[in-house]
């Protein structure tokens, strides 16, 4: 489903972010990518979303080279991927409802669908009573749930969660991981980056460990090594 073919990224100041990275991810997999800050995890995700171009190598999504896509097709492609970030990245001037509706509008969905689906996903993440709140009125855990609701509302093929628990306390961390697990159980591929040992150990799923832009370990049922 996802295939990184000998991908390298060297920035103009000749710092190496990725070096000869090759791996593939199958549909419905739950993959964690671990490593210290600067190991290349975020760069890897940016490569996949076509935010940045690799210096060498190619990135495939279902046999399409994502860097050969035209702008419009990149938008279409991104609509099939749900993104979750450490800093939530909600639209600050819009209510919870509008944040989620925006993603659906961007995908060109009809008003009827939006009215039906938004309450539904908010129910799924347990935020049915915060529909009309603005992001600044929510706690960190609540914001991350909104972000998850936003990520799943378009029924994406893949969820990418970049350090989603980095700003959360243990209880919220646990909840978020459980939600991601449930999403994966329902058939969506999940890619998670983290350096939280507890999260990885509790998951018992595939772990790719990175260091200095290289993959140093790829375990089917991994534990966190560092």
């Amino acid at each position: 489903m996802i295939f990184f073919d000998k991908v390298s990224k060297v920035y103009p100041d000749s710092s190496v972010a990725l070096e000869d990275v090759t791996f593939s991810i199958e549909p419905k997999e739950f993959v964690s990518i671990v490593g210290q800050s600067g190991a290349g995890k975020t760069t890897l995700l940016k490569m996949f979303l076509a935010e940045e171009k690799p210096t060498k190598g190619r990135v495939f999504y279902e046999s399409i080279d994502v860097h050969s896509l035209h702008k419009q097709d990149i938008n279409k492609f991104r609509q099939r991927v749900g993104m979750i970030f450490q800093d939530f990245r909600l639209l600050p001037d819009r209510t919870v409802y509008e944040n989620i509706a925006f993603t659906m509008e961007a995908a060109g969905r009809s008003d009827e669908e939006i009215e039906a689906d938004v309450p539904h996903v908010l129910d799924l993440v347990g935020l049915a009573d915060k529909v009309w709140n603005f992001p600044h009125e929510l706690s960190g855990g609540e914001k991350q749930r909104v972000a998850i609701a936003r990520a799943i509302v378009n029924n994406p093929d893949i969820i990418i969660a970049d350090e989603p628990t980095g700003n959360l306390d243990p209880v919220n961390t646990h909840d978020i991981v459980q939600i991601l697990k449930r999403i994966n159980d329902l058939g969506t591929t999940v890619i998670l980056t983290t350096h939280n040992k507890g999260v990885i150990d509790s998951l018992g799923k595939r772990v790719i460990a990175m260091d200095k832009g290289r993959i140093i370990r790829d375990d089917k049922e991994g534990k966190y090594f560092s």
Partner: protein
Amino acid sequence: MKANFQTKLKRVSRTGLFNFWRNGTVSLASVLIMMVTLVVIGFILFGSAILNTSLTELRSKVDINVTFIPNAQESDILHIKKSLESLPEVSLVTYVSREQSLEAFKQRHADDQSILAALGELNDNPLGAVLNVKAKDPSQYGSVADYLQGQNILSANNLTIVDHINYYQNKTAIDKLIKIINTAHTLGFAITLAFIALSLLVSFNTVRLTIYMSKEEIGVMRLVGASTTYIQGPFVVVGVIYGLVAGLLTLILFLPITYWLGQTTQNFFIGLNLFSYYLVHFPQIFIIIVGSGVLLGAVSSFLAIRRYLRV
């Protein structure tokens, strides 16, 4: 089911309206800055109206007098008047008879007994008749004067009946005035351009700043797969609202300003009441001010956001 164009337009406008309203402080600041631009444009409009009126007024004040010798025949003078009127450069020729000249002279020196007494000593009216000539443009007086010089042949008994033409005495003054009028025009135009350019830059930068603040939002929109138009749309709508609101407020602001200035300009600039000028030309001024505002807002937003759309 897919959303159609109408739904998309509705969403973009609604989002723009919400953004304008929710970012109250930023919107207020942008509207105020844009108002500065529009007020400048408005003042330039009024300024050029004042300038044009006073220049027209000044032009009409310039004339030349052709004074004839006292014993010139009235029929000869009227003949010259006719031929002057046929000149394309001439707009008006007024005949002032000897008696009228004398009346005017007496009136001018009503306080000066010695002159009046001296006048009384004379048996005859010492003054000649006068033709007052107004040209369509001050720069044309030269050729009118030259034409009159060439008219000497017309005089009776081969003697010139023209005593003197005051153009030659006033030549320097008239030349100077022509220069001033031309300079005022060029200068006014240059200042207008400079001011408009400056205030456009200020407004453009303000809109750019408001969009800069939304930089991250734009990035997020990109990552959830929103299209360029869909991201750009609401910002352009906000820009249009800035312009619209700023334009309307500026027009309202001009009411008290022109009212207050109206009397002053009327006294100072020979008859142009700014307030009544504003009211009479309101439709044109409305279109210029509101139109510039809307255009400025939309174009600024459109250009400013392009920078952040590259993700």
